[in-house]
Symmetry: C2
Subunit: 247 residues, 2 copies
Amino acid sequence: MRTLPGATFPLMSSEKADPGTGKPPMRDALVAAAFQLFLERGYEQTTIDDIVTLAGVGRRSFFRYFPSKEDVVFPDHERCLADMTAFLAAGGGDEEPVRRVCDAARLVLRMYAENPTFSVQRYRLTKQVPGLRAYELSVVWRYERALAEYLRRRFAARRDGTLQADVIAAAVVAAHNNALRSWLRSDGQDDASATVDHALAYVQSAFGGTPVPPAGEQPEDVVVVVSRRDAPLWRVVQEIESTLGRG
Amino acid sequence: MRTLPGATFPLMSSEKADPGTGKPPMRDALVAAAFQLFLERGYEQTTIDDIVTLAGVGRRSFFRYFPSKEDVVFPDHERCLADMTAFLAAGGGDEEPVRRVCDAARLVLRMYAENPTFSVQRYRLTKQVPGLRAYELSVVWRYERALAEYLRRRFAARRDGTLQADVIAAAVVAAHNNALRSWLRSDGQDDASATVDHALAYVQSAFGGTPVPPAGEQPEDVVVVVSRRDAPLWRVVQEIESTLGRG
DNA sequence: GGTACGCATGGCACTCAGTGCACTCTCCGG
DNA sequence: CCGGAGAGTGCACTGAGTGCCATGCGTACC
């Protein structure tokens, strides 16, 4: 197996990395070869044979590491999803649920932000290849389902708990994606954290979670709530809870 | 071309329908043949050759009507999307935007509800075939983009207009899908309109749109509650309920 | 009446993604 | 030295999707 000329991304090390030797595992070589070709001649114009030839490995080996051609564009997706799921599972169950899923979204954005050049190149690719855009949807969908499943568990007692879980998860993902795309369009120059915080604050303000806890602020011992009379009762209760800072 | 034995769905007539004669156009014959085979032997176990053989047409004709094998499962998608887009474009610009997109979602659900058996069969199919689930995501994504584009135009003047548009569109689609799936799981027995109204009311209540416009009702649409901050939550809720006069 | 045109369809050959299987090589423990 | 496990490879095969051209059929035009 020959090594690649230049095209080395600071790829996240795959699970089966070889810490002893410095040689990149075949998986990373395939990703590097694939991106080099995708960028210089386009995704659809690149065949699996082109990739494995450049990487100097057998064609069959490609499909040992990636179930499909699309998967090579999202090489760290499984790990990222697992990390997010683990983060959600780590909580003790006493956190405010909406804030928790917002924090999970921040975690995902941080992983994107760890490799700005890689993320930006992938963004340019997915933006102009319909097949990749479709595949990205199925990737994002799994994140959304993970968030929704967490919220469904937390909202198990609520009336319409699954509905609220699905809607809030979708809103969080949409806000995250809005911020992510904005950051990607800036070529990774903007402040990713600030952008996503701002986007998620909107979601939190819409769904009861206290947007920003004013640290060190003395609490009033009287709270005033103003509500439209025709607002649904659960919405009023939610507002009460968030105003009182209980979750 | 021979006609199919039984398997006739009340398919929505395709654009190029032949109003004079009663013979179903080839497109509908292909859909009928495809679903018959998908249901009796599974999606992946059915090849294009199987479909065109059963429909009695040439293989090349399949791809004349459907760009891919997945498309035959969503034969009316383009028309449905066009209808929804037309509905959004039809407004004069003075409607409340959130309510407008909710009405657009109701329109889509109504189209599903027009063919309950077809919708339920497709649901069973997409539920268990990963490839179709992925394709459905790209279908739904186009609806979501249409809603978001409409909201972006309506929110052009707002700060964070595009963010709010994306988030609200995602929430509306999530609520619609939640209601749709609930209806599909009931084999089309539930009241689809009531289910989707309930789901969309949650979204409208979260994002500023008045949930139900109390026509002609004027008085007391604002209620003020004052509570000690350390009062138990249940006590506060009790007070709210009695103030609102609800049980 | 004949001809020319457009259009829907059919047939054929080709590319390429993805799979199943059998083989080799190497490393490792006994 | 042997035997098994696992990584990598070669090969043949299926099936989706495409490009090209031939064929048939109705219609408009001469």
